[in-house]
Amino acid sequence: MSHVVVLGAGFAGQTAALYLRKELGAEHEVTVISGWPKFTYIPSLVWVGVGQMAPEKTQFELAPVFEKHGINFIQAWAREIHPDDQYVLVETKDGEKTKVSYDYLINATGPYLNFEGTEGLGPDAGNSHSICNIHHAKMARDAYLEQVKRMEKGEHVKILVGLGHPLATCQGAALEYITNIHSDLEARGLRDKATIMWMSNEPALGDLGMGGVKAKKHGYIMSSEQFIKSLFAEKGIHFQVQTAIKKVEKGKVYWENYEGEFGETEFDYAMLIPQFKGVKIKYIDKDGNDISAKMTNPAGFMLVDGNYGKPWSELKASDWPKTYQSPFYKNIFAAGIAFAPVGSVSKPHTTKNGTVITASLPRTGMASGIIGKVVALNVVDMINGKEPSHKESMAQMPSACIASLGKSMNSGAAASIVLYPTVPDYERYPDFGRDLKATSMEVGLAGAWLKRTLHSMFIYKMKGNPGWSIIPE
């Protein structure tokens, strides 16, 4: 009998737990440890943040789902992993600490939102907002609706949306938020009362942390830069890329651009995505030594089977992790945001002042789900006495990004971006790094329908309802 412990109950953790339970016999035990009692469908928080979806529609209680599937659930925060002694030290919200033993461990803890990485950033500092979790999305919504009231009184407001750190990721979520604000204000007849601004660390508009996308369109090869530029032109959104936000104050951001120039931009309302780091869990060896620096990269993401340490210009598709197994402890895996990427896909830039500005690769949603499944099946392999046989690197993985541009099922829209592979492979596809036959970009009402369908479909899947495994990750 084996005991598999999954840390985290987001896309990666939930997918891993469901597949483990499906594939393993009843003699094996599966335990999920999460500090949150509910699953949150993060992609729909862009709608919560503009008041177009009730927060409870994005969530469900985890305990009944796990009970139905015979999965143990411990609501607690993982504080320490002891890989030699094979246990996780967890802390409940009451401060009670207990040891949870494991035979196999899957770290799917998601991101630590590193607001302190940028001075004054985030809802706690009171200067900007975030839509990265349900609490932040609700606060963002309330603050946004206050601005709407000002606009209704005839005042003009400046809205700033983008990335709040030189190394931040999740440009797609910020893009959805800014376009949903545009659509919401248009529907309220208030669009002329707002200046909407985009500020990001991307090397070019539409980079999205994926090095940009190219797709065939109308007989030409179109770049995602042209695609997003077209969207911003249509919606009258001001933009500034190649920019690192260094400090946020009430109503003002301080930034540095690629040329090393410093500047300030004023705003009335800002939603700025923080840097993502690995969740703060210590790795302790059998002698009580903290081995976190050996197990993780400097940002706290767990090292797996990737080829780490190469400069960006030398990185190849084959360097990306495939099994997500720790090189130091074969019974530990990482899934979703928790694993350390081998580098960025977007070209990094260092300013003359030494500031590194790089749009990091997003590893959320579809990628998290796929990796969650891969690690679960690899753990099953090991329990069955085999080596991990399931391999799916991000350079062999497709991505489907349905970015909402307006929620309405009647007049909304979404940008539907399908690409293969997620990480460009210039050996297989020398021209653009991706297969142009499999890659596409388009805007339309169909995307809005698809986005809403995905919301219902994935919540259904994450609940482990009948037929859940038929729905692709």
């Binding site: 911003f232 032109a233 249509e234 933009f239 497709p398 293969y420 499999a438 009402l445």
Partner: protein
């Protein structure tokens, strides 16, 4: 900060993006495209 009119969609494009019959067709096309790339990813160039 810059704002551009470059690449702004034409009225015809905006109309087709909201034309429901056409969008129903696009929904099917995108859905099939996603399923195809997920279930049968390209094997070689």
């Amino acid at each position: 900060m810059q704002v551009t009119k470059e690449m702004a969609p034409t009225k015809r494009t905006l109309f087709t993006r909201q034309f429901k019959l056409y969008q129903l067709l696009r929904l099917a096309t995108i859905g099939i495209k996603i399923l195809k790339v997920v279930k049968f990813p390209p094997k070689s160039n």
